[in-house]
Point group: C2
Chain length 433, copies 2
């Protein structure tokens, strides 16, 4: 007998069917009893009246795996519009110890340690599983959009010989008889590959040895990487970023209606014109609208990012705002200075619902200028030999961006902590499961 999934039961009304899944919830009331059976896509209610069947499930704990053969009956008051009557139940896998957490109650934005200490179980809850179903859609939407532009996907190593970004916060590996590090970004590799495929993307692991357990940072995260050559200006990259985020939103709306309704979440407002303003204009706006004077600080701190998004929502009806022209002193050495004012760069951040989710820029593509930029930052060009090498052999104007998969998931779904958007987070406290 072929198994039917809960979501397809409505096409089998009046038939005797086989379903398989987990006991999501039970109500043992005596003569009439109910099981909610959960499978990969949904839930169905089983009505148990037969004494022999009741005795099978009476002491069987939630999350046990069962197979049920029964009659599929139309029942408008029930989930999926059906119910299973006259069930014959077979227990496939019996739970022996009670669950440490009630996963058939809504679990969302709960205490993060409770969620993570019981990760494997908590993920079975309807809310938590909806988060990562949406994340799967997001990742695939990202790739589909890149492929539709004729881009090539690349797979880059996570073990590196030295730090591309020139930063600290590196994890050190014992690599045979050498020292190596976990990559902070795919920068070197995507810039190398832009000379070959012109448009490249990667879904890459990035690592930061963050010492503080903030709600916005973990030690290992996934970056959507994008790099494109033969650009006319840094605006080409901003447009890519805006369009791909809109595409991802469309795909989530299309594929995850039920998940959004389980989560009771609204996706961000993304109007046709997303505001793009300079950092100096953003700081002016914050001063004008809020009376807080951070002009001259040359960056947005987390509170500024929240304020500028609130202002953007009021003024432009957009949950997303793009901030450009960060100071040269604040950005990585490879960022292209604005020819009109070399103190500023052709760089940008995307701020969504108060949180930075994208960082990008046009890059310096000339060998000599890049070497100079390294020296200006007080770094040693010899440490960047592999990086510099790629600019010796013909490079077009180019640029790119990185977008955090978990950050984007967090902001799309208004989750309090990035760990709730990370399947198995790694941080200063947490190394398992």
């Amino acid at each position: 007998m072929k198994r039917i999934l809960s979501k397809d039961l409505k096409n089998h009304i009046g038939e005797t069917i086989l379903i398989k899944g987990y006991i999501h919830q039970k109500r043992i009331m005596g003569s009439i009893n109910f099981i909610l059976l959960r499978d990969k896509d949904g839930i169905v209610q089983i009505v148990v009246k037969d004494k022999k069947e009741i005795s099978k499930i009476k002491d069987t704990m939630d999350e046990s795996v069962i197979e049920v053969i029964g009659d599929c009956i139309k029942e408008d008051r029930s989930v999926n519009g059906v119910e299973i009557h006259n069930p014959k139940i077979k227990i496939i896998s019996k739970v022996k110890s009670p669950l440490k957490i009630e996963i058939n109650k809504p679990i969302i934005n709960a205490n993060i340690d409770t969620i993570l200490d019981n990760r494997a179980i908590v993920l079975r809850s309807l809310q938590q599983r909806s988060i990562f179903k949406i994340q799967s859609t997001m990742a695939n939407a990202y790739r589909d959009y890149c492929l539709s532009l004729g881009a090539t996907e690349i797979f880059v190593p996570t073990i590196v010989g030295n730090a591309t970004e020139g930063g600290s916060e590196l994890f050190k590996i014992k690599y045979y008889d050498k020292a190596a590090y976990l990559a902070q970004s795919a920068q070197l590799y995507k810039q190398t590959m832009v000379a070959i495929y012109e448009k490249v993307f990667s879904i890459a692991h990035s690592y930061r040895a963050e010492k503080f357990g903030t709600s916005r940072h973990t030690s290992e995260f996934i970056q959507y990487e994008w790099e494109m050559g033969f650009i006319d200006s840094y605006k080409d990259i901003i447009n890519f970023g805006i369009n791909v985020i809109k595409y991802i939103k469309d795909k989530v709306e299309e594929n995850n209606k039920e998940d959004l309704s389980i989560l009771k979440k609204e996706l961000p407002l993304l109007p046709s014109d997303i505001p793009v303003i300079k950092l100096s204009e953003a700081l002016d706006l914050i001063f004008q609208e809020r009376g807080i004077d951070h002009r001259g600080q040359g960056d947005l701190n987390p509170e500024d990012e929240k304020m500028i998004c609130e202002i953007s929502k009021d003024k432009y009806g957009s949950d997303l705002i793009v901030i450009t022209h960060y100071p040269t002193s604040k950005r990585a050495f490879y960022t292209m200075p604005d020819p009109k004012n070399p103190e500023e760069t052709l760089s940008f951040d995307f701020i969504l619902r108060g949180e930075e989710i994208v960082s990008g820029s046009q890059r310096i593509h000339d060998y000599e200028l890049l070497k100079e930029a390294i020296i200006k930052k007080g770094l040693d060009p010899n440490d960047f030999e592999n990086f510099l090498e790629i600019f010796k052999f013909g490079m077009p104007e180019e640029g790119g961006l990185g977008m955090g998969l978990e950050r984007l998931t967090q902001q799309f779904l208004s989750l309090q902590n990035i760990r709730e958007a990370t399947l198995f987070p790694r941080d200063v406290k947490r190394l398992t499961p």
Copy 2:
């Protein structure tokens, strides 16, 4: 003026057009001169007669980036069926040092150290870039196929607290004040997630501290991971594996015709019936056909794998053969023993063109049996607490497989060394670029 890509020039015959790309090759012959310009998808020939234009390019080295405005002329003898006449050339990025390797000559199956010592440049050759265009197609075909089955993509960490496989060959990380390791496989995570989404896939980084630089192993590689629950038998997983490989082959044939012709490679023969035989039958066949008696060795060594594929090609017209029922003593503790003969497992390897590319099995899904299996292997159940935990809370019959992205690329394209199918390989000798 909008830039036209070389592959689209045939739609612009008779027009004045703008092209951008790299000087792939030059022939300076005096009064009539030729440039082959390479862009992301192809090559076009530019005919240069004007003295001023000749002087611009005369001393400009290969791989310099140029922009050309010229007349697009029909020319059947030329690549793409067009040529660019009366060009006005602008040099965007000038190469200053000569290339260390001639990349406008075919580079394939060349000396691997020469290829890798000049990786960023060698990848610009038509052959090398075709390899990774095909790999991009393969990765996306894999995902499309998984999604079409209703599977969910998961993102798993690479930093782990202990070894799932219980093996050696681990890379150690200094993780804050703790020791951690780079993951050998996504086993724990995909089995956890099968209880949530029933069918899950991941494109995961795996690490092995291989001490020897064989042509088949690197230290960091990409695994296509697959795990599915509610299976009827291990054969469901074998069928998935066969079908996804066929789907990948179809997509490469569809999308990478030109790359295959540049590489002069034939994809593997995959008839509608792929042979699936037991290990004992495979060893019998090798004995019968080749007179080599490895019966009783309980495994296939690399030479056996080559022989069994040759036999498979002769007997079944298939470059792929599936070998099942490896001995319990040779497989990981979580492998399901065959109920008919517990000395053998419900496991399998796929051998393609003489090389193992897939390994998989049905898993033990019962907590007590799994604990027993750990002890039987001489391991300590306390070391596998996180792993065991997931079987306490209801698990269906399930199984999965892992397939090496680089291995599959290597065998699809008959490359001598797995490093040629790895963008930036990591091994005992190589940590950069």
